[in-house]
Subunit: 155 residues, 2 copies
């Protein structure tokens, strides 16, 4: 663990998993429209959205994906990790009131490069709404301790 | 064009490009922390963030990526398109006050499947901060007109 309670690369093993869940409310959709600039009618206009195949407003795909960011930054690998890549496939719509569970699972570890690949899935009521993969940079306890020893030797 | 002023698949050609720009403010970062649940110190704690290699708070990567969503949904292919996939690589940090330009460019068109692949790049002051690719489903004017004719024939 690092000083912020995040995992070091030496703490990780294949198959380790964590999750974070968040209900996507109407307020979240309105605020996300504001921060993104994406004011598409399917997200903010119930009259229009109810006339489409979706039958009502749906959350922005990237709003749902943002719960993955919370799972990675807050749980696994946790604070101190740096987000390098994210791939995602939007499989099903998310509606206001749905609770999104982001599940992240370690699928590859490159100790030398300090990089970890995670499977990233978001589910609503047990059904996938996003499937994808993230790559994250994680610090190394061994390298951090070597840096500290070298710094002491210089003083 | 469809009834919402979005492009049909027949309107698209390789190399077509559009952009949307948004300044990422402190308010955007605070609201994104709320909607995502990602309250990592690097985004919301200036005292901590200024002690790291970043030298201060940075925007969440997925907040920056949300500007791509606005470019796709609002400009190219525009309203009516359905987001299927997004891949992204975070290349450089974005700071409060930076203006993110999301540039989307048509790189492949599958008319039969109604799918378009777009190159998606976000730049700040001309330098890439996100590089990636999106796949989007787009309606077809030809198929829509056939559906209308078939519906009339049934009446």
């Amino acid at each position: 663990m690092n000083s912020q309670n995040g995992y070091d690369i030496e703490d990780l093993s294949l198959g380790m998993s964590a999750s974070f869940a968040k209900t996507i409310t109407e307020a979240d959709i309105v605020m996300f429209a504001g921060v993104s600039g994406d004011n598409n009618a399917i997200h903010i206009n119930e009259e229009f959205a109810s006339s489409t195949a979706f039958g009502g407003r749906i959350a922005h795909g990237i709003l749902t994906a943002s719960v993955i960011s919370a799972a990675i930054a807050g749980r696994l690998p946790g604070p101190g990790s740096v987000y390098l890549e994210q791939k995602m496939r939007f499989c099903a719509p998310v509606r206001p009131g749905d609770t999104v569970h982001a599940i992240v699972t370690v699928k590859a570890i490159e100790v030398d490069r300090g990089r970890v690949t995670l499977d990233t899935t978001c589910k609503v009521a047990g059904r996938p709404v996003i499937e994808g993969e993230a790559m994250v940079r994680v610090d190394s306890r061994v390298k951090r301790e070597s840096r500290a020893v070298a710094a002491q030797a210089r003083n």
